[in-house]
């Protein structure tokens, strides 16, 4: 059996750790079930110094040190790789997750310590690596879905890993190997609703993978049918994701029975009183099943005794409430009043809506299949159902202009939305990254790694993709918007118009997309 150390990297250092490393938890469970010896060091949860990271790496003779995560964890992942190389030099260093999948060749170049990169879904791939280690015969070329180093110093991508068809074959994440009592339960509060604010034992659950929509800012980690293999200009196999002219999807979801059984298990084992669904978009799955998926989840939630007492009795929530409240993600166009009311009855307290903008021209170009009208409509329906809508907003879109900013402000004013918007950010793997890669590199003197190191959760500006506004203007405009300061916005607009007499952001953005449209066939080698 292989001796495996998983290290969950530090991410969003400005906030306390709130979310368990779900993917690492699943991989740990799978590895344990296959008979391997496993330890998890959750560096994000513990937030301890480098001396502890060193001790962890020196704590045993690891066969494999495994790490990974999303791109915003890149800085700490880089540290893990450097430390692993120094303090556990005999271990095979395996990295995976969205940060590597988005650009496997570049990441393997930036991180020369990594022996094998897992590209896309790791459930089967990682276990095959461990099996080879166990057999003392490592041959990554025979494992689908990896990138590895060849003896001549090159990089080789093996054929893509097929996505797991039946998600219900997955074990539950190794919750017992995570510091739930020591760290996560202490940070249970979720300021999305009254019930979330009062949560004492919150935990995350993931019911589905992917989203059927094609929002240009989104990256689906290569696990939702969004990843294609192709031959690049240098004749090497590489990966490509969403791009103008090339959007593919394969969404998957657990059965309602699997989800509710897991929640029931968590409720009984840890006295969980709040579930945060990590799903990209619950409503996508509901629509894909012709309106049955969420309905069945809610029915089971109630019949299995998880419905919160306050909802059942129709009284205000308080600390004596029993049962399990929950929150997740919705979509402006895909929701309907019936399912929202049913979700509320099952204990749903908030739903995050990526409204992004209330401008028609912005939403038309976003790939979100929503309009200002559906934003308004879903807002009212959700409020009416008793669920709090969490109205996420973004500014700095490629075609952002003063009118679109004002459209947002008017909507916030009308709906009582209090928000400090995200900035439009071209994360690796997104269509925006594909379209604006050259422009991003220009802003970082051609240094892609510097961009990766700076990327955060989009509350601050990194690479600007707005055709009209620069970073200084976007910071200032956000301040004026938050204050609903129409007068100063108009004053600045006058000055701006004098300086930009020929501005035509829509034309520029459309041309940029046309230039990066994928016209040649993409090879899917699965």
């Amino acid at each position: 059996m292989a001796k495996v150390l998983f290290i969950n990297p530090l991410v969003r250092e400005e906030d306390v750790p709130r979310h368990i490393p779900y993917g690492i938890g699943l991989l740990a469970s799978i590895a344990i079930n296959a008979g391997h010896q496993v330890q998890i060091y959750d560096a994000n949860a513990w937030r301890l110094g480098d001396h502890v990271l060193r001790q962890v790496l020196e704590a045993d003779d690891w066969d494999v040190v495994a790490t990974g995560g999303i791109t915003t964890a890149y800085g700490y992942i880089k540290k893990i790789c450097q430390f692993a190389d120094e303090y556990a030099p005999d271990a095979l260093l395996v990295a995976g997750g969205g940060f590597l999948t988005a650009m496997p060749r570049e990441i393997m170049t930036f991180l020369p310590q990594v022996n094998i990169g897992v590209v896309g879904e790791a459930f089967e791939t990682f276990n095959e690596i461990l099996a080879q280690i166990d057999a003392n015969l490592l041959e990554p070329a025979k494992i689908a879905g990896v990138i590895y180093r060849t003896p001549d110093g090159g990089l080789e991508l093996t054929p893509p890993r097929k996505l797991l068809h039946d998600l219900d074959t997955l074990p539950y994440p190794a919750y017992d190997l995570l510091p739930l009592e020591e760290v996560y339960f202490k940070n249970s509060q979720a300021l999305y609703s009254e019930e979330g604010m009062m949560a004492r034992q919150r935990i995350d659950v993931n019911g589905s993978y992917g989203c059927s929509l094609v929002c240009k800012f989104c990256f689906h980690l290569g696990i939702t049918g969004d990843m294609k293999y192709y031959e690049n200009d240098e004749g090497e196999t590489d990966v490509v994701f969403d791009a103008p002219g090339s959007y593919t999807r394969s969404i998957r979801y657990h059965s309602p029975r699997y989800i509710v059984d897991m929640v029931k298990y968590l409720h009984e084992r840890y006295a969980i009183d709040f579930i945060g669904f990590l799903d990209e978009n619950l409503m996508t799955m509901h629509r894909a099943t012709r309106g049955t998926w969420l309905t069945e989840i809610c029915n089971l939630w109630i019949s299995e005794g998880l419905q919160p007492k306050c909802v059942r009795e129709g009284v205000e929530h308080d600390e004596t409430c029993k049962g399990v409240h929950w929150g997740g993600t919705s979509h402006a166009t895909l929701c309907d009043p019936e399912i929202l009311k049913h979700m509320r009855q099952a204990g749903c307290s908030h739903l995050v809506y990526g409204y992004e903008s209330f401008s028609t021209q912005i939403l038309r170009r976003l790939g979100k299949a929503s309009t200002p009208k559906t934003n308004f409509r879903s807002f009212y329906w959700t409020m009416e159902s008793g669920i709090r809508p969490i109205p996420n907003q973004i500014i700095g879109f490629p075609t952002e202009d003063f009118d679109s900013l004002r459209d947002n402000m008017k909507a916030w004013d009308k709906l009582g939305i209090i928000v400090k918007p995200f900035f439009a950010t071209p994360y690796p793997g997104s269509a925006w990254f594909h379209v604006y890669k050259d422009r991003i590199l220009e802003q970082y003197d051609g240094d892609l790694e510097r961009y990766l190191l700076e990327l955060g959760d989009a509350t601050n500006i990194t690479a600007v993709i707005s055709e009209n506004f620069n970073s200084v203007e976007l910071y200032g405009l956000r301040e004026l918007m938050v204050r609903l300061d129409y007068a100063r916005l108009a004053e600045y607009e006058k000055q701006w118009n004098l300086q930009h007499p020929d501005a035509n952001a829509i034309k520029k953005a459309d041309e940029a997309e046309l230039l990066r449209r994928i016209t040649k066939p993409v090879v899917i080698a699965a």
Partner: protein
């Protein structure tokens, strides 16, 4: 505090001190949350007086410290 969690006992224990954040860091983190107006502070991680700086950081800080001293 058991920071390593797994299905076997490791060869060496990991010793993690409970006080994971010093007072200085705690203060700066709390102040940063309320930054603005009269809430302003000097980050001791970013500014060290040359006389107190250790060997590693002294060189990097010398110029900045000297620049400040020259303003006095």
């Amino acid at each position: 505090m058991d920071v390593l969690k797994g299905n076997f006992k490791t060869r060496q224990p990991v010793v993690a001190d409970e006080s994971k954040e010093d007072l200085n860091s705690q203060f700066e983190r709390e102040a940063l949350k309320r930054l603005g107006g009269s809430i302003a502070f000097v980050s001791k991680k970013k500014f060290l007086f040359g006389m107190n700086a250790d060997a590693d950081s002294a060189a990097a800080e010398t110029n900045r410290t000297d620049a400040v001293k020259s303003e006095l």
